[in-house]
Amino acid sequence: MNYKVKDISYRYSEDGKNVLNHVNFTIEQGKVTAIVGPSGCGKSTLIQIFSKVIPSLIMNGVLEGSFDMPEGTFVSVVSQTPENQLFGYGVEDAIAFGMENLGISQEEIVERMEYVLDLLNLQHLRNRSVATLSGGQRQSVCIASVLAMNPDILIMDEPVSSLDPNGKLMVQSILGQLRVSGTTTVLVDNNLVWSADIVDHVIGLLDGEVVFDGTRDEFFRDFSLQKKLGVIIPQEVEIYRELSKYFKEIDLFYTLEEAKTQIEQLITKGSGLKSFSESCSCAPIITTHNLTKTFSDGFHALMDVNANLPVGQVIAILGQNGSGKTTFVKHLNGLYKPTSGDVRYKGDSTLKKTVAQISKDIILVFQHPEHMLFEETVERELTFCARMQNVPFTEKQLEEVLNRYDLSDERETFPLNLSMGKKHMLTILSVLFSSADVIILDEPTLGMDDFLVKDLEQMIHTLTAAGKTVVIISHEIPLVFKLADSAILLNQGKKLFEGCKEELSRKEELFDAIHIALPPVVALSKSLGLEQICYTVEEFAEKIKKLKK
């Protein structure tokens, strides 16, 4: 039994513009269907229609067409922020909540509880409180709580967007389990990096219309469509896309192993990495000396961290959640005062300065834009830092930024009405008008599609070209390696590594220790014996082309 989306059109008000236009497709039972498309293409509206939020809770719109499913079909949704969806103090309470609402007997609740805990390998969490779980664990419990209600269709709305690599792996493995168990799953996410290997069917939406309806392989072979939709794809597929320009015989691959096997057959194996002699000797702009932070509950967040952040570079702070990355950068801008140790900017201690005083030199952009946005227009938000720090700016500079980043039409818009990605971009752009020499970006790609990520890359290049230092915390490891010059690796509050990217890429054991995978281009450069490590797909494809048999 498949579920049919039949000619659905929708607008949020009588006289409004259609956000969905004659949408037709089929959700295949027991398969994983991915709905992709840029911000504002209508993905969220579709979720609301499938889950009957429209018209049950949102009643003012005009819905035409239908979502054909048998009487009593139950659709449930896992949202991108499990914190908002888990009701109950303990894991068991949270999982039982939905079943209790359905009026299921206690015996059956016990039975289903055991089933989902076993299915998703969550037995070890059952006696924990939800508040103490990691992001990935919370999302897993959220999926369990919805699955326990036995939905006919499970919709997952950007389920890994705020998770670290470990969390992503956890949800990825659960999605794999669901596919094996024959659960009909709809994945709504413009980032297919983590799910490419599992998805069966892809629906592409653009401006409220279906522009693609086909299999995963067909989608990944259609390069222009991927670009048009701004879909973030796995780096392995990007490698395939580049290599297929030079090697007609190459077949689509999704995993590192498949990539290696195929490329090895096409090239003469390289002579291996040349010895590395480059030293990272830029003068530091920020130094930390024996930085130690112990919170009032006794948790040691940082332990004796000595680090030099080189001027004018892009510096990545890497580590799993809980490794101390955010605590570290909050010391740099003065939000946290160390238990012991010191932070120095251009040689002077910052400990006695207020956060606002430090922000004139070191500015931190938070990962959730809603925490930062409060002005009434995009223009005022953009110039907020400049006004706070009395930095002069001209109308011409303002217009340039608005034009460059596609915000001209939204100059007078209320910032909170922008899409998540644009809101985030706006908070980042406001630092362009500040006096700070060091810009710290905490998870800057959150909510961004491929178009905005490219804009962000461009902006970071502009900042470093102007002599600014950019510190970046991100779980998007391929992007980090593409942009960063050097890195600091933290694990459980201790510094594991500090140095340039080239040096870090050669120390695979460090990545094993922190359970983060090297980007595919880096891993392939090494395993295929290239003379030097590549950090971008284009660079890698060029090197491979030269080794063609």
């Binding site: 103090y89 007997s105 709580s145 500015i363 938070f366 959730h368």
Partner: protein, 274 residues
């Protein structure tokens, strides 16, 4: 340090039936409202301290005391100042200062600063602290799922019980949101540390807008989640977990009964009218 939220643990208080704890709060609220004897209240305070110590929550009570200090000092001085205009009701004890001061229209104002003013201020501050801390003790040791279960066992409608539980679930979220907003704004150059009171008040207005939007968006997300979980207050709900009184509850009730009896006796024998 966590504030205004449940603290995970397995102490005597944590293991009690939530209904026993609700009853404890109700009884203590009545006792502290009725009893105005300094000696009796000090005894009750001692009993509370033993209870907090056994349950390992004393450090959280200290945090509460820190947050309440302005209120408690205000109450203390309010009653102390009111007492300055009257003589002590009981004849014993030192008088530190007594005088008739010239007042408007040639009248005179009688001022008498004596031990009884200090006593009265102390008694009222202690009563308020005990009343609030008894509620806080329940809050620290009862998670919101137990609160809902306990209220339902008292035949409180699920709509009300769920709303109360939800409030306790949301309070820590709102506190952490406010903290994040303050950090984010100061990181962008808004001075919130080195500024005067007026600027601080103005800044709180600044923070309130993003906080309001965050709370609204959280509220929307929660109502969507309630829809996804098919929460319908008209439909009969079942429960996965049950609650049952155990011998811990019996010990607790006995200890509290004894403490209240002693408090009443102390009130009878050592009562100074306030």
């Amino acid at each position: 340090m966590d504030y205004l939220q449940y603290v995970d643990g397995n102490s005597l208080l944590h293991r009690l039936d939530p209904r026993t704890k609700f009853m404890f709060f109700v009884v203590m609220a009545v006792v502290t409202s009725v009893i105005k004897s300094g000696v009796a209240l000090l005894f009750l305070f001692g009993f509370f301290m033993i209870m907090w110590h056994i349950s390992h929550i004393q450090k959280y009570i200290l945090v509460l005391a820190g947050k309440l200090k302005v209120l408690l000092v205000f109450i203390f001085f309010l009653w102390l100042i009111l007492g300055l205009f009257e003589s002590p009701i009981v004849p014993y004890g030192p008088i530190f200062y007594k005088r008739l001061l010239p007042f408007i229209n040639g009248q005179e104002l009688y001022i008498c600063f004596d031990w009884y003013d200090l006593y009265k201020g102390g008694v009222y501050a202690l009563r308020i602290f005990l009343m609030i801390s008894s509620f806080y003790t329940v809050l620290l040791t009862t998670n919101f799922s137990e609160i809902i279960l306990g209220l339902r066992k008292w035949h409180i409608p699920y709509t009300v019980a769920f709303a109360i539980g939800l409030i306790f679930q949301i309070i820590p979220i709102v506190i952490s949101e406010l903290k994040a907003i303050m950090e984010a704004q100061s990181s962008r150059g808004l001075e919130i540390e080195d500024c005067g009171w007026m600027t601080k008040i103005k800044n709180y207005v600044t923070f309130s807008l993003p906080l309001l939007f965050r709370v609204i968006s959280k509220g929307q997300a929660i109502s969507l989640a309630m829809h996804y979980y098919q929460l319908d207050f008209k439909v009969h709900r079942t429960t996965y977990k049950g609650i049952k009184a155990t011998y811990y509850d019996a010990y607790f009730v006995i200890a509290n009964s004894l403490a209240i009896s002693i408090t009443i006796l102390l009130r009878i024998y050592f009562y100074i009218p306030v």
